[in-house]
């Protein structure tokens, strides 16, 4: 044991930095979110209002953006799960010599600059992009498909970007499933499919939950990919916040939206930790 005095000295610098450059700035956004903004004039002095929060739940446009963000989070999570599980299974249970190359091929796009990856998808999905050009050349379509500035584009781009996170979570979970339990089920006459649905899948459920929460939270918070593939018109919560602050200069409204997005992210994480605790209680 080292003395508390030393412990405090070791941890104080980081705590001070986080207090000054993280906690305080976030807390200072709270009063802003209750101010009134007059277009062109800025904050109305002396006026306090809950209008910025009320608008989030009552305004049709804001509600549409929030539902779109949640729906996108859900779809992307499902897509990552469906595409990620087979790959994670191959990495965890496939030939030993494939493992490191496969993991590196999963990590590489994850490490790669987000802007670069989104740029790659623009080149593929644009009206005169590679996918449309190829389909037209093959004579399958005559007018370009609309693959960008809509749900399709965001789905493809965000699934690609968050898939590696899901795969890595699932690899860890599948590796933790004891092989001998699967072997026992097989010995007792279970088919391969049944071993999977009755043993492997339920025992990897904690990893599935953890990966899903991670992907969902990352997706609803994403700014860069939705902005690049959704353009200035097809908005999600993060791009709406960006516009409120940078284009409309309506900081009160942007602050209220920021807290709404934070509440959604933290709410989902809190719910899942309760769920995990209940599972742990049953085991």
């Amino acid at each position: 044991m080292i003395a508390s005095r030393h412990g405090l000295m070791l941890i104080a610098p980081l705590m001070l930095v986080l207090a000054a450059f993280f906690l305080l700035p976030v807390v200072m956004m709270l009063p802003t979110s209750f101010r009134e903004y007059a277009p062109g004039a800025g904050l109305v002095p002396g006026v306090w209002t809950t209008e910025n929060y009320a608008r989030i739940v009552t305004d049709d446009y804001y509600r549409e953006v929030i539902w779109r963000t949640m729906g996108l989070g859900l779809f992307v999570t499902l897509a990552c799960l469906l595409l990620g599980y087979p790959l994670a299974f191959l990495i965890a249970r496939g030939p030993e010599r494939w493992r490191v190359p496969l993991i590196l091929l999963v990590i590489f796009p994850m490490m790669l600059n987000l802007v670069v990856r989104s740029f790659g998808w623009i080149a593929l999905l644009a009206n005169r992009g590679l996918v449309n050009n190829l389909l037209i050349q093959l004579g399958l379509i005559s007018t370009p498909l609309k693959l960008m500035f809509n749900l399709t584009g965001l789905m493809i781009g965000l699934t690609h970007i968050y898939l590696p996170f899901m795969v890595l979570m699932l690899v860890a979970a599948i590796r933790n499933v004891p092989r001998h339990v699967e072997a026992a089920a097989a010995t007792l006459g279970s088919s391969r499919l049944h071993v999977f649905t009755a043993v492997t899948l339920p025992l990897s459920a904690p990893g599935i939950l953890a990966g899903s929460i991670l992907v969902f939270v990352l997706t609803i918070s994403a700014l860069v990919t939705p902005r690049m593939l959704g353009g200035p018109t097809y908005k999600v919560m993060a791009t709406l916040i960006y516009d409120e602050f940078m284009q409309l200069l309506d900081w009160p409204s942007g602050s209220a939206l920021s807290f709404a997005l934070t509440a959604m992210a933290i709410g989902v994480i809190w719910l899942s930790s309760r769920l995990t605790r209940r599972w742990a209680g049953m085991a």
């Binding site: 080292i2 496939g94 796009p109 987000l114 790659g120 644009a126």
Partner: protein, 267 residues
């Protein structure tokens, strides 16, 4: 356990094919960007009409790109070093249980990972506007410390958790002071995990747009923010060329880190 039951757990043909298709899907945008960078046409075609290195020349002589690359590297190196010093010290204090409420402290240290990055960005935008730090390099650097330090703390805590305290105690008994025992015994033991954490922090800083874009000044921008705003203006192969440089750099860093520290084990 017989070998037949072992084989029953192996992925079948359908799973393997699906999995390999997903691996290809993951590489597609990377391949497209690299091909575009060498293309002679200003729009993309597959196969490329002709090959040229002209776009690379254009990028590497463009002062705007060069300045952005310099600021990005400065921020990434600076924030990684500061985060390493602050993060390892904090993690060590937590590990030695020198403080009450270490679980609460850990969750405070991890909070920047949970909060949406765009929220940290706009919060700092308002804060820096009020304190006059907006557009300053110092403000940017501290913002990058906030977003990178959780990775350092996490990897340091994970590496320390696998450590036998007796080794350090032995060094103390043999006459080393506290700092020497840490520097000569503990630090080398947790080094591989720290290298992986530092690499993650470095790439996180180099990659960041959602916080940085709110804080940059008029005459300084980072490379990803520059690419981001160029794409909004319209696609140009020089964007593909500078992206390709980033792809190659990332690939090399990843391979070196994996050789040196067995990076794939830490992710």
């Amino acid at each position: 356990m017989s070998s037949t039951t072992d084989n029953d757990n192996r992925p079948g043909f359908a799973v393997t094919t699906t999995a390999l298709a997903v691996v290809v899907f993951l590489q597609i945008p990377v391949i497209v960007v690299v091909l575009a960078a060498f293309s002679t046409t200003s729009y993309l075609t597959i196969p490329p009409r002709g090959l040229t290195l002209a776009w690379f020349g254009k990028v590497l002589t463009d002062p705007t790109y060069l300045a952005a690359i310099r600021i990005s590297l400065l921020l990434a190196c600076g924030s990684t070093v500061i985060s390493l010093v602050l993060g390892v010290a904090a993690a060590y204090a937590l590990f030695r249980r020198a403080l009450p409420g270490s679980e609460a402290i850990t969750s405070v240290l991890m909070a920047p990972l949970i909060l949406p990055a765009v929220v940290i960005g706009v919060a700092l935008l308002q804060y820096y506007s009020l304190t006059g730090l907006r557009g300053s390099l110092f403000g940017l650097l501290m913002a990058h410390v906030v977003i990178t330090v959780p990775y350092i703390v996490r990897s340091a805590l994970a590496s320390l958790a696998g450590l036998d305290l007796a080794v350090e105690e032995a060094a103390r008994v043999l006459g080393a002071n506290g700092f020497d025992a840490f520097r000569l015994v503990t630090l080398p033991l947790i080094q591989p995990g720290l290298v992986a954490g530092a690499l993650f922090a470095f790439i996180t800083s180099l990659d960041n747009v959602p916080v940085t874009i709110f804080l940059i000044g008029a005459n300084q921008t980072t490379l990803p923010v520059l690419i981001f705003s160029s794409v909004e203006m319209g696609i140009d192969p020089s964007v593909a060329a500078v992206s390709t440089l980033l792809i190659v750099a990332t690939g090399i860093i990843l391979l070196i880190a994996d050789r040196r520290a067995g990076f794939h084990r830490f992710v």
